[in-house]
Subunit: 194 residues, 2 copies
DNA sequence: AGATATATAGACCGGTTGGTATAATGGATA
DNA sequence: TATCCATTATACCAACCGGTCTATATATCT
């Protein structure tokens, strides 16, 4: 069974993804998680900030793992990315456009207000970028080429997710899927002489 | 001189861009705008929601106008988009990564909580998409081709801005600039037989 | 059993939130 | 001058915020 600490973190992850940092009160976290309120400052003496940092780290790890596993299942990285975006689109639609992009909201909300949380978001995005980069390098791309392309992949995913949720349509994500796959294929073949 | 109503809206635009909806209190808006508090519910009987809706509309119009004027100054749409992203990158950097993407934060924050505000964001993004789409069509592209490409442009800009602000680097935006220009050029020439 | 440390209950704090009341302004019109 | 209406001042509200407190359980180890 999950400990109080784990329940708090998992619940916070979900709330941050759906409604963000400032809209998620401590009382709400306690209530939604079913954890005792007394445990809050026992496990997280740093208060709400510390909870958010841990939640961001947790979300980053989970996301990175899912992406890595997904990419590993496809021989062609372009196909891997394309199907990944389609899976994201499916999830966004299933949740009624309420979830998707676990980091976006917190990252933006805390750019100007909380250094520790924003640092966690930075590391999270770098971590995820590295996952894509490694996969591209495994397909023969140099690090100097893979890193920027991986960054483009990450920001394109984030942007498409943002618009899909806002517009209540999977079109942005499906559009981005095709364009990204095309672009990746182009960059891979141009270096290999397809 | 600006009326109290205009001052409130303009200030709210800025606050929404930098810190979002939930982090911007009514008192803060009043204080930052210099408008009298008594005027708040005189001009905006709908409360904070109405203020935010008007601010989103205002930001959308301003953004759409700036983009349209910028694109009109370039004979090649691909060049227009590329330089636009570079200008955004410059602004994001100048503000210390505190501003950029006037709609992103509000859009995400209100997806699950405020239908009227989210509707305003939807219309805003559709409006901006139309600006890009029109420019692409003026360059000879069909509507069926221009609309999806314009949507991709918008979501790529948003994603790159999001990551640039979070990572405190203009790299995502500069990367996206090249990627988008390349793609636009490809799609234009493929239909014209370049 | 006794002692010790971790974990939980839940009342409580000052401060702030969005929102509302009513009264006092001020300038235009008659 | 008297009237009128948009505008503004200011005090106020309940609800909630993040955070703290003390007392009590519940284990673990001696």
């Amino acid at each position: 069974m999950a400990t109080a600490r784990e329940k708090i973190i998992r619940t916070t992850c979900d709330l941050l993804e759906r409604q963000g940092f400032h809209a998620s009160g401590l009382n709400e976290i306690v209530q939604a998680s079913g954890a005792p309120k007394g445990s809050l400052y026992h496990y997280f003496p740093g208060g709400k900030t510390e909870i958010a940092v841990e939640a961001v780290r947790n979300a980053a790890e989970t996301t990175a793992r899912i992406i890595a596993e997904h990419l590993a299942a496809y021989a062609d990285p372009a196909e891997g990315v394309r199907t990944l975006l389609e899976e994201i689109a499916r999830r966004v639609e299933e949740t009624g456009y309420a979830a998707g992009g676990p980091l976006m909201l917190v990252a933006l909300e805390t750019v100007n207000s909380s250094e520790p949380i924003n640092r966690a978001c930075r590391q999270a995005y770098r971590h995820i970028q590295a996952v894509f980069s490694r996969r591209l390098m495994a397909a023969g791309m140099s690090e100097a080429a893979a890193d920027p392309l991986a960054l483009l992949i990450v920001s394109t995913i984030e942007g498409a997710t943002l618009l899909s949720r806002t517009l209540h349509s999977t079109q942005p994500l499906r559009e981005a899927a095709g364009f990204l796959a095309e672009h990746i294929r182009l960059h891979l073949t141009s270096r290999h002489g397809g």
